[in-house]
């Protein structure tokens, strides 16, 4: 049974009164004051919804039959060229590593998203957790009153908790930087407490004979957590009011830009996993215009995020991953579009102490060979990230169907891990 939840002030009054305040977890601002490797590590995923075209972003092949009108530009890494749609990122490619040969077997949006978010293919018997949920499950979140896994933007399939439970689902904020909705109680303090006391009585009545089923529903747990959240200072991380206008402008005044800025604030507060969705990459028609528009949004936001993380000494403890559910076909279809292509697509990874300047894998410039050189399964990428976050990817958990499953089936990619 849950006790009646108190708000922070009442907690403090009560605990100070009884002299046990030292038992409280260190609160709110602590995580924000730590820097460098001391901080709790986090993962920010920039999710390119709909399937970005590798050819119009990280892996252009200009002047070939598959290249289309997209041009390539030089980057900070000698010999590495990326699409001209990403000029600001070109200046920062020395801070990231690039994977050009990710492979998946899922060419459907929903299944592809499932696979790339979890590292497992959809399976009718068990629902796998998203990598963000795995991280929040494995790393301590005691310092947080706000959710440890947050999804920002218009993502159609935000990361789920899978067999870890819906409490590990990403907390969804569609309009980043706006007031998180429904956080203010509608009545005064005293009345709210009276309501909560009554709720406790009614809840107990329902539990008679249904305790196990009711616990599984997490109903009470969510109410307790909601109340903690409603009274937390950490909510400020969701707001953008105290960010200078210039900085907001640098990220771009788009939902994605604001999302990236909020992601930085969340990570600063100690949130473990954030996904920011940039939707609209599904360019079955009119590929080139669609992709450049999206890439432009990505370029300003991603580059500003990296700059900010460096400036605040947060990049060492924050992995930033830019990825979508699959890439797009080398072949340009008659509608000037590109279709789904799970064989050889790109991702960019930065921070968290991972090696930078690496370029792994390559795709066929003629578009004839389906398989890329050095195909990299998405699982290997996640095993690398987990390892870097000090989580053993091979750790097995017992799923609700009684089958043990590894957190991740891949093996870490040595090229990305820092030198031992």
């Amino acid at each position: 049974m849950n006790p009646i939840p108190l708000n922070r002030r009442q907690y403090l009054q009560w605990t100070c009164g009884t002299g046990i305040a030292f038992l409280l977890p260190t609160l709110s601002a602590r995580a924000a004051t730590l820097r460098g490797q001391e901080r709790p590590a986090s993962l920010i995923t920039l999710w390119m919804g709909g399937g970005p075209s590798q050819l119009e972003t990280w892996d252009p092949h200009p002047g070939t039959s598959i290249g289309g009108p997209t041009q390539a530009i030089d980057t900070r890494v000698s010999g590495l060229k990326i699409a001209a749609t990403l000029p600001l990122m070109a200046e920062r490619m020395d801070r990231v590593s690039l994977l050009r040969s990710l492979v998946s077997k899922e060419g459907d949006h929903e299944r592809g998203t499932y696979f790339v978010k979890t590292g497992y293919r959809p399976d009718p018997t068990v629902r796998h957790p998203a990598i963000g949920a795995v991280i929040t499950h494995q790393l301590s979140t005691a310092h947080l009153d706000i959710p440890a896994f947050v999804s920002l933007g218009y993502g159609e399939w935000p990361g789920r908790g899978g067999y870890l439970g819906d409490q590990y689902d990403a907390f969804r904020v569609v309009e980043a930087g706006q007031d998180v909705r429904n956080l203010r109680p509608r009545v005064g303090e005293e009345r709210q407490q009276r309501r909560l006391a009554g709720l406790d009585v009614v809840t107990r009545a329902f539990r008679q004979g249904r305790a196990a089923q009711a616990d599984k529903s997490l109903h009470e747990d969510t109410i307790t957590r909601a109340i903690h959240m409603m009274t937390s200072e950490q909510l400020k991380a969701f707001e953008l009011e105290d960010e200078p206008v210039e900085r907001r402008a640098r990220y771009g005044e788009t939902n994605f830009g604001r999302g990236c800025l909020v992601a930085r604030r969340l990570v600063e507060t100690g949130v473990r996993a954030v996904e920011v969705t940039l939707p609209g990459f599904d360019s079955h028609a009119n590929n080139f215009e669609t992709q450049s528009l999206r890439a432009a949004e990505l370029d300003v936001a991603f580059s500003s995020l990296l700059d900010d993380l460096v400036e605040r000494d947060l990049l060492e403890s924050t992995i930033v991953l830019c990825i979508g559910e699959f890439g797009r076909t080398p072949r340009i279809n008659p509608l000037d579009g590109r279709d789904h292509w799970p064989n050889g697509f790109s991702a960019v990874v930065a921070g968290g102490g991972l090696r930078t300047g690496q370029v792994l894998g390559e795709t066929d410039p003629s578009g004839e060979k389906t398989d890329p050189v050095r195909p990299i399964p998405v699982q290997d990428l996640y095993a690398t990230l987990l390892r870097q976050l000090n989580i053993d990817p091979s750790l097995e958990l017992i799923t609700p169907i009684g089958r043990p499953l590894a957190l991740c089936e891949g093996t870490p990619i040595p090229d990305l891990l820092p030198d031992a």
Binding site: K105, E106, G107, D108, R111, P124, T125, P147, G165, D166, Q167, D169, F171, R172, R181, N182, L183, R184, P185, R186, R191, R194, R195, G198, L199, V201, V202, T203, R204, A205, F206, R207, Q208, G209, R210, A212, Q213, A214, K216, S217, L218, H219, E220, T222, I223, R225, A226, M229, M230, H284, A285, R331, L335, G337, P342, E368, T370, I401
Partner: protein
């Protein structure tokens, strides 16, 4: 000129408008609570389903015995009334309905109420939305929403007329015509990608929605685990190879064919229609789609009837039959039907056979499922061990707790905020407000999209929305448009007030401990106005687990 002088008739009409408005507001605020019994026709239908219900009950009983399970006690009739109302109308019963139900003293009141509820237009509307999700998904673009709405009202009309399910499906797959004039064609238009109907998308949907299986992954490769091969997928997709959009709407061009590009050779291949099983059911028809439709709905095609039964069971219980033993798979992932042997058939197959034998009558199917013992089990069971409880739930020996769909939560909130039943006869303003609020709330609560039947627990955002959201606040604050003042004024004694609040939200009376707690509290705070008490109590009840779970 005496232009400023109002003509007496004009004056009178203004007066009428004002009086009319007052009357409208007054009626919404203080509806008459007539207690008259609804006239329920004596129905044969309930009797007609008894034999198959008995077969199902017997099969369940045998299974429970075999598994050594202790089935729960039968649930109380008000609990069942709540389940029925949530399953068929998407809301909790109104206080008005509860009173009528309790005043009905016939021993067979439940079957008669099921009949009445199936005939209510709320059933057709609510179920139309469920089935629309299955067949065309949840599309959010304005233009597509318009098409989807047309499809949904077509579906609603089919349900109202109780059109045989096989005919409905046939029409969706095979019908040509304009999407405005022939709303069933919006099944095809929902599968349009880049202005062309996409055979692959339509095939995936057809197999999932119509046959309850998944073939989508065979689009790109032979599935390593399932039986579907890429060739199966392409053969089925080829049935949609003739379909195109023209100024005349959805058309079949006899010269068109489904073509695929070989991934390795990049060569284009023409694919001829072919079915992965049941070749005998194929017919030669004018269009490929008609042949496909015939094949799908062939009475020998057990996948078709099993899929329908499994889905309807799921919508009524909140949990698909396949999610329990022995399959434990989601609603559209049914395994191939087993060979019919002499052994006891699965409940799914008993129901499917009955469904086919009775002309794919959806209402009959619902009547059967709702009359089974399994539907009337209590959700309470004194079983400590988790796995043991799970076994009981898997075999339907204990009624499962399932999270209400967002539409049900909002429907229940709005219904609980009114005393009268919000149905076709409710004031227009009440219904409009309901529609507007429902859309917002559902979006925020987390629309479950197509996969409504996935098992899910509650989340923090939902708790926040229920506790602090606008809808819950408006539904409980004392104003002339909701039940709060009326409950407060009309209930008389505190005991009565408490009871009415419980009935209107939770469809039950308070337990002794609840009664003594709240009455005690009210006595201590005697100066507070009743409307405020009602508001607080409604808030409490809205946030209780009991309110947002089917139990």
């Amino acid at each position: 000129m005496t232009g400023r002088q109002w003509h007496p008739v004009l004056k009178l009409s203004w007066l009428l408008v004002v009086v009319g408005l007052f009357w409208l507001v007054g009626r919404t605020a203080f509806p008459t609570l007539h207690n008259a019994n609804r006239t329920v026709e004596r129905n044969e239908s309930a009797q007609a389903v008894l034999p198959v219900v008995q077969v199902v009950d017997k099969a369940m009983r045998e299974l429970w015995e075999q598994e050594g399970l202790r089935p729960a006690a039968p649930a109380g009739e008000l609990t069942i009334l709540r389940r029925l109302s949530l399953a068929l109308h998407g809301t909790v019963p109104s206080l008005e309905e509860i009173r009528q139900f309790e005043a009905d003293t016939h021993p067979d009141r439940l079957p008669r109420w099921i009949e009445e509820m199936l005939r209510d237009s709320r059933f057709a509307d609510y179920f139309a939305e469920r089935l629309t999700r299955v067949f065309v998904g949840v599309q959010r673009e304005p233009f597509l929403i318009f098409r989807r709405d047309l499809f949904k009202s077509w579906m609603s009309d089919q349900l109202r007329r109780n059109r045989p399910y096989d005919q409905m499906v046939w029409e969706m797959i095979a019908q040509p015509g304009l999407w405005t004039g022939e709303p069933a064609t919006n099944f095809i238009t929902h599968g349009v990608i880049d202005k062309e109907p996409n055979p692959a998308k339509l095939t995936g949907r057809t197999v999932r929605a119509v046959l309850g299986q998944r073939i989508d992954c065979a689009e790109c490769h032979n599935h390593p685990f399932a039986n579907w091969k890429q060739r199966d997928f392409q053969g089925l997709a080829a049935f949609y190879g003739q379909v195109k959009l023209s100024p005349f709407g959805v058309e079949d061009d006899p010269k068109r064919r489904f073509r695929v590009t070989d991934r390795n050779t990049l060569e284009e291949q023409v694919i001829e229609p072919a079915v992965p099983f049941g070749e005998d059911w194929l017919t030669t028809r004018e269009t490929f789609r008609q042949s496909l439709a015939d094949w799908c709905i062939n009475s020998e095609n057990r996948r078709f009837s099993r899929a329908a039964v499994n889905r309807v069971w799921g919508l009524l219980f909140g949990k698909a039959w396949s999610e329990g033993a022995p399959y434990q798979v989601s609603v559209d992932d049914l395994p191939d039907p087993e060979e019919e042997t002499s052994a006891t058939p699965l409940v799914l197959d008993i129901l499917a056979e009955d469904f086919v034998a009775h002309g794919y009558d959806l209402r009959r199917l619902m009547r059967v499922i709702l009359s089974t013992e399994a539907f009337r089990m209590d959700s309470r069971a004194e079983i400590e061990d988790d796995q043991e409880l799970q076994r009981h739930l898997d075999h339907w020996a204990v009624f499962p707790l399932t999270r209400l769909r967002p539409e049900q939560v909002v429907g229940a909130m709005l219904q609980a905020a009114s005393i009268k039943t919000i149905d076709q006869n409710a004031a227009l303003i009440t219904r409009t407000v309901r529609l507007l609020r429902e859309a917002d709330f559902v979006r925020e609560y987390g629309d479950l999209g197509e996969n409504e039947l996935e098992e899910r627990s509650g989340t923090v955002p939902q708790a926040l929305l229920r506790m602090n959201g606008k809808l819950a606040a408006e539904a409980t604050e004392p104003n002339p448009f909701n039940a709060t003042p009326r409950l407060a004024i009309a209930s008389g004694s505190p005991e009565r007030l408490l009871e009415n609040c419980y009935l209107v939200t939770l469809t039950r009376r308070p337990l002794d401990e609840e009664r003594s707690y709240f009455l005690g509290l009210w006595q201590e705070t005697a100066t507070r106005p009743d409307s405020r008490r009602v508001q607080d109590l409604q808030w409490i009840l809205f946030n209780s687990p009991e309110f947002s779970w089917n139990h």
